[in-house]
Subunit: 231 residues, 2 copies
Amino acid sequence: MTSQPKIPRPTIRRLSFYLRELESLLEPGRKTISSRQLGDLLGLTDAQVRKDLAYFGQFGYPGVGYRVLELVEELRKILGTDRVWKTAVVGMGNIGRAVTRYKRLQRKGFEIAAIFDTDPALVGTVLAGHHVHTLEELKPIFQERDIKIGLLAVPAEAAQEVADLMVEAGVQGILNFAPVRLKLADSVAIVSVHLTMLLEQLAFKVSLGLTGSRDDRESEQDADPNSQPTV
Amino acid sequence: MTSQPKIPRPTIRRLSFYLRELESLLEPGRKTISSRQLGDLLGLTDAQVRKDLAYFGQFGYPGVGYRVLELVEELRKILGTDRVWKTAVVGMGNIGRAVTRYKRLQRKGFEIAAIFDTDPALVGTVLAGHHVHTLEELKPIFQERDIKIGLLAVPAEAAQEVADLMVEAGVQGILNFAPVRLKLADSVAIVSVHLTMLLEQLAFKVSLGLTGSRDDRESEQDADPNSQPTV
DNA sequence: CGTTGTGAAATGATTCACAGCT
DNA sequence: AGCTGTGAATCATTTCACAACG
């Protein structure tokens, strides 16, 4: 709706923070919240909060603030989590298994619809309620089950190859845990998590003695150099 | 050394990318690389690469480029990974176990010196070569083993409490996997990984049809709203 | 020549500050 | 009175473009 005057990347990242904070306010039965209050909770200015939200519509009520429930719903719509996303985890190593068992994903609307591995010892076994499939089955299963998001947790050496396979199977987004920069068509969204890089960032901050002066601390996640590769 | 004219946060995040790319060039025996070439590899402009590096010193050779080995060493020094950091993993749930078994951390200079959990069934057992300790032992062990970085992988409800405990034990940096915003003294560095937020960001990108127009894709990691909370 | 390092210009993001709604 | 939405101002980051160097 509202045209779309070009949304800053940082704004998009903050949307998830707003959503999480608001969801936690929802249980206690909180009805409304002002930009100032929400900002204080997250270490942001009130203007920042208002401007961020205003990119997507007029959700606030002058004199009142924002209605928590309404805003939660709007944010879910914006982020695309007002529906269930079918996902698959590929690679049943340490990280793949951990992710597969991570219950919260399900609750947040990300359903694990299939899991894969190449290890013959694992294929055919059941892990956290999921049957482990071979990579040969990846394409047919992705298509049949309409899996749109892939969680890539294979070793670095295999990452690019498996990512290509997923793309061929029609995946639209990949959450990449492998420490490599994936090269994929622009039509595929990529978000990467690089554990060692996160620790490097932490080591840097610690070395500095400081911890980031404000907007810094926390969520060491997005904002990366590459366009497509890993995060 | 060079004064320190205020280093942009994005620059610091990119340092890890430069390092990883350069390390991968090192094995094949690559001797030098120009800012242009390095930038192409990472989806950055040559000017960006030069400016980033120039914040920390003059590492390049006009007409030649940068010497790969030398730059790797410099970057490690800058990031603080030219030494071994003693870390501890607290929380032996899915994520804690995965991280504990993740070999690459060790190779990148992050030594796991102790692991902890509250579950009586786990305490005393050995996991990936590490003895599982109780939280009562946390403070003495952190101090005795000079642990400076903590990997926090406990349930959301316990995260703040355990983080406080680590700070009391002298930790200087925390890599937080719990989906909460930690409130700690400014002297403690925090980097957070929020799986569900990463997936939300991915869902958003997919919903948009686009994948980020350039600097976007990849490394969905840093750049967060909060100063201190989680990532 | 090719390539760095770096001021100056351009672009992007945040904060200010205030008119307008309830 | 309290609070939103938003243009204008400020601040941050990136890109340009070029002098200097090997």
